[in-house]
Amino acid sequence: MNELSASSRITYRAVMVRPGVTRRIRGLSDRALAWLFITPTIVLLLAINIFPLLWTIYLSFTNYRANRSNVPTIWLGADWYQSILTDPDIWAAMQVTAHFVIWTVVIETVLGFGLAYLIDKKFRGHGMWTTIILLPMMLSPAVVGNFWTFLYQPQIGLFNYVVAFFTGRAASSFQMLGDVTLSPWAIVIVDAWMWTPYVMLICLAGLRSIPDYIYEAAEVDRASKWRQFWSITLPMALPFIMLAVLFRGIENFKMFDMVNLLTGGGPGSTTEVASITLKRAAFESWRTGYSSAFAIILFVTVFGLANIYVKALNKVKSR
């Protein structure tokens, strides 16, 4: 880094000699430059995110259908919101989402923190093994969902074979994706496989942020390892764990790609998480107004949680 800066200094010294500009003009040009630099990003986001969002809000109050654009649009007020928020089927979809979110977050946090704790012992080769563990989270969720359908095949799938091998049941006696009690767990397993490394990586950062001298002081005070874990390790890593939990919670609340390819919401609607319900209403039944209202409900929830997430992010940043 230092060599780099030294060399770049030499280049500009050689290239540039320009009469000094007054402070005031430089200050003005700074301001202009700031806006020049920031505006393109803001304009892009306004065009591709904010304008469509406002449009969605408008549509959510109308009877508009994207496949029948010649039908006159009627203003319905908050009718769609009322019907969604009293609909037991949508409520059921929210509970399916809750099952998915809660179990994935619990499993990923326990496994992820455990792994981070073990990796923090700095055994030989921990860097390489950490990289290997991290691989699944970088892959495409859609492609992952698709190849797990292969592993879950009742006749030929590796997953069923391994379970059959260890439990003694016949491999074709259970269908992970076709059974109403097993399929909610099938999506939890795949998500945990994919995203445990994410929680692990953030927890590892948390554990490494704890300074050694605190443990040294605890040793001097003859605190047991158990005691040290509960009163030093866990509380000090907690902001990081919270960060990971919040982010995984938000991401899984809006989960679409992996579940869509794994089960498509089925069998029946046992794995129909909120995003899949939304996709069916918006792109299969073409109830655009209705699905816009549902989209806004999901969006406000995510936006609220994002506020909390950024707060958690700042808490970790100040460490």
Binding site: T86, V300, L305, N307, I308, N314, K315, S318
Partner: protein, 70 residues
């Protein structure tokens, strides 16, 4: 949205202290969390029906509160 760490509680009365950013932000956070739980709980349809209003209120409150009184 930096974290407020200066503990200048000595001056000002109780109302003044309660209207500071920290506690109000905590209240807004709790309301948002309550709204999300209401949305996904399996117990009472009424709670589900009011979840959106709760989350929306919490989010609006959070946005306002994070502006006032550094």
């Amino acid at each position: 949205m930096s974290v407020d760490v200066t503990p200048s509680i000595a001056r000002g009365g109780l109302v003044d202290r309660l209207l500071r950013r920290g506690p109000l932000e905590a209240v807004a956070t709790t309301i948002i969390a309550a709204g999300v739980v209401m949305l996904m709980q399996p117990f009472l349809l009424t709670l589900y029906s009011w979840s959106f209003a709760t989350t929306l209120f919490g989010t609006v409150m959070f946005t306002i509160v994070s502006k006032v009184r550094e």
